[in-house]
């Protein structure tokens, strides 16, 4: 997903086996350091956690595709399985999956196309309804009826074709067989898919009662099966989450410390920081403003946590239109940008990168030597050689995100220096990806970023770099990357037998794919992996802060 932004519906099915291996890999090494998950609230409960939160798109798990909602949803909506509730560190530690509503991880056949879950007994939603196996099937059907941005994730389920053809008329999915009495859910896939278990951890698969209206439900949002429920939500203004009175503790899932989470929602980073700095609020969900980072760090160092994220910020280059249909032009861009400067423009909150896959992945292999060291002279030569010197290039970026705006304008300035005429197109972030994701816009080059939905490389290469996944509208493959050999490689890696999906040779294959795309084809101009901040008021104990791969867990926050 993108920060604060919605992405497209189309995520083609990844076909590869390996569920058993996923499970074993997930249960493997613990990765880097950090605070371990707290599953008991004993002794650390308090009445009200006051937070300042970023604005979001929806507060319905079937519709929302933004970090701000998902961060809250982790304590509200549970699916059959969930990502581990602990600070994951780096590498394989981030990939662990635990059973949530299901008693255990699924039993599956040898190629992973038939998954069988058994639900825990006695679970109830916050409205008192019993959690039933059929709720899972109805949740997926509801996603289709809502035309959810997540429906593409389920395209490999048997019998999904009718729903895909006409989402709003979706009424049944033959590949999901449920038995409420026995509490079982069986999911049949058309072909093996290595990341399917990860997909079940996304909130599009988080269960809501079958009685939930099949439309955007936000005031209040759908009943919850997690430790908290959202009692009220005023879009862009506030929300209140309270303890789910019917929640029955599930191992590995924190019951939570605050009895209530009260949020003021704002996209104003300075205001957000000021409210926590003055101790009016306990936690700042927004990233600290660049210009105040140093000052806040010096004054409130122990109250600020910094986290590396599974993200890559990059400039897309549309390969369907000149000049970027010419590899020399794409190489010129990569030589023309000083990645350290781009990190500086983000206040230092990042690490320069030349890879597409972030270093938090076990499949990551740093490109060495650095393929495109900053070299304006070489960039000028490449523009000259490409025969596109003097061409007008439209540079797209966001108008209301100060960091994206600065990075986009920096790109425009650099392109002017190497021989192109640039024309800036600054668009409000709410519409930005809709505009650049529409082929009619013919956006040539611009800012973009990507934060993982789940920790497997398909979320990067298949969504963003895969030819068959190019769409007319809501296109995430903004560069229109479409190379026969890399398409085949992605397809091949997605079709590996279970025993090979998570081996070191497969990891190497993903790493080679990264290298091929970034060096042989120069498909993108990646420039940094983001670091984000967590800022706590003085009454809070930052030691309780648990960062679950993408965001802090508010349920595990505690007082000093």
């Amino acid at each position: 997903m993108r920060t604060k932004r919605v992405r497209s519906v189309a995520v083609a099915a990844v076909v590869a086996a390996g569920l058993a291996l996923v499970v074993s890999a997930c249960g493997g090494s613990g990765g880097g350091g950090g605070t371990s998950a707290t599953t008991s609230a004993q002794g650390q409960t308090f009445s009200n956690l006051k937070v300042v939160w970023g604005t979001t798109d929806y507060m319905d798990p079937g519709l929302s595709y933004r970090l701000e909602s998902w961060q809250l949803f982790q304590d509200v909506y549970l699916g059959l399985v969930a990502k581990r509730y602990g600070t994951c560190g780096v590498g394989a530690g981030c990939t662990k999956i635990i059973p949530a509503i299901a008693q255990s991880l699924p039993k599956s056949n040898s190629n992973g196309t038939d998954l069988k879950f058994t639900l825990r007994k006695g679970l109830k939603y916050s409205n008192g309804e019993t959690v039933k196996a059929s709720d899972f099937k109805n949740t997926i059907i509801r996603d289709f009826k809502l035309n959810s941005p997540g429906i593409g994730f389920f395209s490999n389920i048997v019998g999904i074709d009718a729903c895909e053809a006409n989402p709003t008329k979706c009424s049944s999915i033959s590949g999901i067989i449920t038995n409420d009495n026995a509490g079982t859910v069986e999911i049949k896939l058309q072909q093996p898919q290595s990341d399917f278990l990860y997909i079940l951890t996304t909130f599009f698969a988080a269960m809501v009662p079958s009685s939930t209206p099949q439309k955007d439900t936000e005031n209040p949002p759908p009943a919850a099966d997690g430790p908290y429920y959202i009692a009220s939500y005023k879009p862009s203004r506030s929300f209140v989450a309270k303890r789910n009175p019917h929640y029955k503790p599930i191992p590995g899932i924190p019951t939570g410390n605050p009895d209530q989470i009260t949020a003021l929602m704002t996209a104003d980073l300075s205001r957000s920081a000021q409210l926590v700095q003055s101790n009016q609020y306990d936690y700042d969900e927004n990233t600290l403003p660049t210009d105040r980072l140093k000052q806040l760090q010096q004054k409130y160092g122990t109250q600020i946590h910094l986290w590396r994220t599974p993200s890559t910020y990059y400039f897309f280059m549309n390969q369907r239109t000149p000049p970027f249909n010419n590899i020399k032009a794409r190489q010129a861009v990569n030589y023309a940008i000083n990645r350290q400067t781009l990190v500086d423009l983000r206040g230092g909150l990042g690490v320069p990168t030349w890879n597409f896959l972030p270093p938090t992945y076990p499949q990551y292999k740093k490109l060495n030597p650095t393929p495109y060291p900053y070299n304006l002279q070489k960039a000028k030569q490449l523009v000259q050689q490409s025969g596109t010197k003097g061409m007008t290039v439209g540079v797209y970026t966001q108008s209301d995100d100060s960091q994206a705006k600065a990075q986009g304008e920096y790109l425009g300035a650099q392109l002017s220096k190497i021989g192109w005429k640039t024309q800036m197109h600054e668009i409000a972030s709410a519409n930005y990806f809709v505009v650049v994701g529409n082929q009619a816009t013919k956006a040539q080059i611009g800012f973009t970023d990507w934060y993982e939905d789940y920790p497997y490389p398909t979320d990067w290469f298949q969504v963003l770099e895969y030819g068959p996944n190019i769409h007319q509208i809501h296109n995430n493959n903004n560069s229109n990357v479409n190379f026969k050999d890399t398409n085949n490689a992605i397809n091949h890696l997605a079709h590996l037998p279970p025993t090979q999906a998570f081996t070191s040779s497969t990891d190497n294959a993903w790493a080679n794919l990264d290298k091929t795309l970034m060096t042989k084809y120069t498909s993108e101009a990646p420039f940094l992996n983001a670091v984000i901040t967590s800022f706590f008021a003085t009454r809070m104990n930052p030691q309780c802060d648990v960062f679950t791969d993408l965001f802090d867990d508010p349920a595990q926050m505690c007082l000093k």
């Binding site: 300075s270 210009d291 980072l293 206040g347 108008s399 425009g412």
Partner: protein, 366 residues
Amino acid sequence: MATPGTTQEEFTLDTAAELAAEEGGSKIEGKSPWELAGRRLRRNYTALVSLGIFLLMCLVCALAPLYTSHVSHLGPTFANAGGVIHENGQTIHVISQGGSSFSKNGQVHLTAAGIPIGPQWGASGGPYFFGADQLGRDVGTRLLYGGRNSLLIGITASVITTVFAILLALLAAYFGGATDWIISRFFDLIWAFPVILLGIALGTSLSINGFHHGPINIPAGSLLIPIAVIAFVFIPYIGRPLRGQVLALRNREFVEASTAQGAGPLRIMFTELLPNIASSVLVLFTLIVANAILTEVALSFLGAGVQPPKPSWGTMIADGENNLATDPWLAILPGIMITITVISLNVFGDGLRDALDPRAKVRMEH
């Protein structure tokens, strides 16, 4: 903005006796109304000083290329984010450098970065006299080029507005009937929209892909777009009061005399009516320039006016807003320039109105 007191009944022309009474005993015989107005204006030192300040501001901004070539040596759009300057043997980064590093236990260590250097007051030998913005561009250079753009847009848009408003007002008031009804409803239609909202709507839609219809091709990012948008939204603010004045004049004796002599509509409109509303046009033009500059600033601040990387005082304030805590001058400097320009124009406009028509009822509320 509104222009009360400009209806047909309220409008009067000064008689010679009235003017003589207001001249404090000075002779008015043999003096044309323009000479009398000039004499009054010369006595109004506040207005003259304001005019001087405004002209000085225009001159300073017009000399922006000289500042670039002789002082800053940096163009208005030259981003020097990764650059350095040398001062007293020291190397200083234009934008502070930093970054994040990781320890083995996964902890992140941050060296905060991205803060532009402040005003150097000449210590660097010219560049960054007023500091750098967040992309390492020279604030002084951008301030002058931004002023050029803001003044160019404000003045050009006001000229276009005034020309169209005069034409429409003359047509509406002279011909009356259906012509008047259509033009008046057009004025009402634009008037009904708040200026900024209409400007944002037009500016945003045109700034993405430009305007390409028939023989007219205006690329996105062209200064012609904010000029056209601002010129359009202000037409009724001059057109309506002028129409009222022309309505009052068209039945006066001198118009009837001209008609009796066989003059056609065009001749009457441009040789009889227009000279008689010239003083109001001049006053309204002065005041609309100030409003047009403010509108340009507002639209550019909101991203619907001048498009980056071109500077304008509005875009500079918007850029500086993100650095208010550490580099407030980035927003304050263009703010000061706008304040000086608009106040000087408004004070001069008031003085001009007092000089041209001491008992004038033409007012622009803003």
